[in-house]
């Protein structure tokens, strides 16, 4: 009786063509899932090589030139081809229509085109790696990148340029869908907080991405045609590049963390079986982060030669952007109060996220505080800080989300005990990898160092040991999630007893998500009611 539904979006059609030409948002989510997973492990290989090299103070594993390519390829791959697309393009694609009671995104073919653009951009970057790699760091600072580096800068930059269009189109698609395709009765303040987060992220996609595209285009023009834009020897300004680059790349950090925060709200609510405390404050804090996040880029440039007054203003604004994040953490914690909490693997990731994101956020205050930033800028303190946000925050939430919605995506549930162990391994391995780097940074070890003074070795060995544990934690889910595709227990429509609209349709859902479009009569997370009291199916469809 408890078998999978007879027909669903995965078995309506088979064959490679049915996937490559699909316009179903759920299948496109799978295309993204496969591609970002490939990029994640590709970037992970470089992380592994970095940590092996740094086991000893001498640069004895590879040449300095090669090491510089390792950290560049690690950063480029992880930032542009994993972290930025992962949560929005995989979970966002799958969930936005399901959560708002729509049959697909507003522009299904554009959605497929976005994936193709992403893949084409990715192929350029992989081609650059195959041709010998690039050594500028993922930040492409000029004039090193535009004049001095003799590696494959142009090819890499073209790849990122192309991929940017994928982000823009995805953001556009989400914004239109959320505005126009919500089910009847699903007002803005009844939306799940994940939708608010994706909406805020989409704003950044649309407003920020064109700037990085133009900036990288200018780097390419200076490199290929010698136009004087950033190189002072040709009348350009190298600091101008940093302004343009960080105008996008700081908000890009929020592209990585906002959807993760959205996932976090969903997980906390579902496993505490309780409405998220301070819903409106959590929702608006997402928008506040998206808006203020555009005004803090100068905190990457406190020692770069900008004026003292610019530094002070950016310091002040950077402190302000910390407030909405603090509000979220307090509200998530308060949500647990008087909840009915269970500790399935997604919740372990969610609790781990709060811990790691809090450390990442608090150390952000050190960096906003300009007097301290001068000392720790461009040291391992920075590396530790942003990995706590991007890996400790974004990837924890992403993995939590993948586990949580895996039954919906596949119809089957992952093996719970091993998943809990994996979550624990990730948490411990992560802290052992990155916490020592805070200390290293305060002691003065600069980032991007192929060789380092011997007194830093103990902390580096700790970090490398942690990285090997972390690698196990990331490989385990890959294995048992694949295993569960065939052998996992059948999940049923709503294995978590959650209230979200995506759980009110079979797992896996039919191609059109809902047989009839429901009328929504209450806010998200109405755990005081039964789902049938919140959603009225069977009414004439409004779609």
């Amino acid at each position: 009786m408890n078998g999978l539904p007879r027909e669903h979006y995965l078995n309506v059609d088979y064959g490679i063509r049915s996937w490559l030409f699909t316009t179903d948002h759920k299948r496109i989510a799978w295309l993204y899932l496969l591609s970002v997973t490939v990029f994640f492990f590709f970037g992970g290989i470089f992380a592994t090589l970095i940590r092996i090299e740094l086991l000893t103070p001498q640069g004895d594993l590879v040449q300095a030139e090669t090491y510089n390519k390792f950290f560049t390829m690690h950063g480029v791959t992880m930032v542009f081809f994993f972290l930025i697309p992962a949560t929005p393009a995989v979970l966002g694609n799958f969930l936005v229509p399901m959560m708002i009671g729509a049959r697909d995104l507003a522009f299904p073919r554009l959605n497929l085109a976005s994936w193709y653009i992403f893949v084409i951009g990715g192929l350029f970057t992989l081609a650059a790696a195959a041709a010998g790699g690039v050594d500028t760091g993922w930040t492409f600072y000029t004039p090193y990148s535009s004049i001095y580096s003799n590696t494959h800068v142009a090819l890499t930059v073209v790849g990122i340029f192309i991929t940017g269009f994928s982000s823009i189109l995805t953001g556009l698609n989400f914004i239109v869908t959320i505005h126009k395709m919500r089910a009847p009765g699903l007002t803005w303040f009844r939306l799940p907080l994940f939708i608010w987060a994706i909406y805020a992220t989409s704003i950044i996609f649309i407003l920020g991405t064109p700037v990085i595209a133009i900036t990288l285009l200018l780097v390419g023009l200076e490199r290929l045609f010698g136009l004087g834009i950033f190189d002072p020897a040709r009348g350009g300004d190298p600091v101008l590049f940093q302004h343009l680059f960080w105008f996008y790349s700081h908000p890009a950090v929020y592209i990585m963390i906002l959807p993760a925060m959205g996932v976090e709200s969903e997980l906390i609510a579902a496993f505490a079986r309780k409405r998220v405390f301070g819903y409106e404050f959590v929702a608006f804090s997402s928008l506040a982060i998206a808006v203020i996040g555009f005004l803090v880029w100068g905190h990457h440039m406190f020692v770069a030669g900008q004026s003292v007054h610019a530094g002070l203003i950016f310091s002040l604004l950077s402190f302000l952007v910390a407030i909405p994040s603090a509000i979220k953490v307090f509200n998530w914690t308060a949500t647990l109060h008087r909840g009915a909490i269970s500790y399935d693997a997604p919740m372990l990731y969610a609790l781990g996220f709060i811990g790691l994101f809090t450390i990442g956020g608090l150390t952000g205050l050190f960096l906003a505080s300009v007097g301290v930033d001068v000392h720790v800028h461009d040291t391992y303190f920075i590396i530790a800080h942003f990995h706590y946000i991007m890996v400790g925050g974004s990837i924890m939430a992403y993995l939590g989300g993948i586990h949580f919605w895996w039954p919906k995506m596949t119809g089957r549930i992952y093996p719970e005990p091993v998943a809990r162990v994996a979550a624990l391994i990730v948490f411990l391995g992560f802290n052992l990898t990155f916490f020592p780097q805070f200390v290293l940074g305060y002691l003065g070890m600069p980032r991007r160092y192929h060789a380092y003074p011997p007194e830093f070795q103990v902390l580096n060995v700790m970090s490398s040991a942690g990285a090997s544990i972390l690698a196990v934690g990331y490989l385990l889910p890959l294995l048992y999630l694949i295993w569960s595709l065939r052998y996992g227990r059948v999940a049923g429509a709503n294995p978590w007893g959650a209230r979200g609209l995506e759980w009110q349709t079979p797992s896996p859902p039919p191609t059109h998500n809902f047989d009839t479009i429901p009328l929504v009569t209450d806010a998200a997370y109405a755990y005081d009611k039964e789902p049938e009291e919140v959603y009225e199916f069977g009414k004439p469809s409004h779609a």
């Binding site: 090193y144 001095y148 002072p232 406190f302 310091s315 450390i359 205050l365 001068v374 461009d378 600069p446």
Partner: protein, 301 residues
């Protein structure tokens, strides 16, 4: 400066520990107390609590403003070299530091300084962006091509201190190391006496003659170019009505690209010296012009 940075650092650690532990303790406490069990299958229905939201918005806001003002004060003092600093010129290039003292000694990848006197670094790069970072002094500043940046420090104890390049600059980035050697004033005076090669101002005067600058920039003001006597730090009127302070950056620009800002009453006839004089040479010419008098307090920025 280091003790002041550390004091703020410890304050930040204290605040972080407080909030980190607060959140951790609350989560563990709630997680245990409110675990799901038979008879407790659903969370309680709790309405929003506006005063609580305002409270935990206002408290972090207040604390961060303390951090902001504290950090800003340190930054302000870090950015303003004290009057009477030793003015040392630093030129960075892939992958070395070239240093010149006002008394004339030059060194590579080493910077000798006396204990107890502020040292001001005027820095420029010949190629890509570098960064002069002395962890023990808690100072760091990017060294840019085409533009001067400054930093200052005051060593309090004799000894050797590591200097790292902390802005990625290419293959041997991690090998671009130097050291600050802080010496007792007497030792420093003795060190200064060895290996003198003429002061930067003398070097600048030689260049001034050799490059033919003196032909037009006559000291009595009768030449085709303006006199440079007493120029340094003064405000200069330009063609077109604007004004500019004659600091190091302006003098450098006027040597490399004289037509960018022409002094009122003069014709743009000076040839471009781009490529004809090195960054170190320009720093020497600036030292020479500085030695001709001017507003001492408006030091090169």
């Amino acid at each position: 400066m280091a003790p002041r940075v550390d004091a703020l650092f410890y304050f930040l650690i204290a605040v972080s520990l407080f909030f980190g532990l607060l959140i951790a303790v609350l989560i563990v406490y709630f997680a245990v107390k409110y675990r799901r069990r038979p008879g407790r299958e659903r969370g309680a229905l709790i309405e929003a609590n506006i005063p609580l939201e305002i409270f935990w918005t206002a408290v972090p806001l207040g604390l961060t403003m303390v951090m902001f003002v504290w950090g800003a004060t340190i930054f302000f003092d870090e950015s303003e070299p004290p009057v009477g600093s030793i003015d040392v010129a630093v030129v960075g290039r892939q992958w070395m530091w070239k240093i010149q003292h006002p008394e004339g000694r030059r060194e590579i990848d080493e910077l000798h300084v006396p204990v107890g006197r502020p040292v001001k670094l005027t820095m420029i790069s010949e190629d890509v962006i570098h960064d002069f970072f002395v962890p023990e002094f808690r100072i760091k500043k990017d060294v840019l091509p085409g533009r001067y940046t400054t930093a200052w420090f005051q060593a309090t104890k004799a000894g050797e201190y590591r200097v790292f390049c902390s802005q990625y600059c290419g293959a041997q980035h991690s090998g671009m190391l130097a050291r600050v050697v802080a010496m007792e004033p007497a030792d420093y005076q003795q060190w200064l006496g060895g290996g003198l090669t003429g002061t930067p101002a003398e070097g600048g005067r030689n260049l001034f003659q050799r490059l033919g600058c003196a032909t037009c920039h006559k000291s009595d003001g009768t030449g085709q170019g303006p006199s440079l006597v007493g120029l340094f730090g003064k405000t200069v009127k330009l063609e077109g009505g604007k004004t500019v302070v004659a600091d190091a950056a302006y003098i450098r620009e006027s040597i490399l690209d004289p037509r960018a800002k022409v002094v009122a009453g003069y014709k743009p006839i000076m040839p471009l010296f781009k490529g004809l004089v090195s960054e170190e040479g320009i720093l020497q010419i600036i030292a020479f012009i500085q030695s001709l008098g001017g507003e001492e307090s408006a030091a090169a920025r």
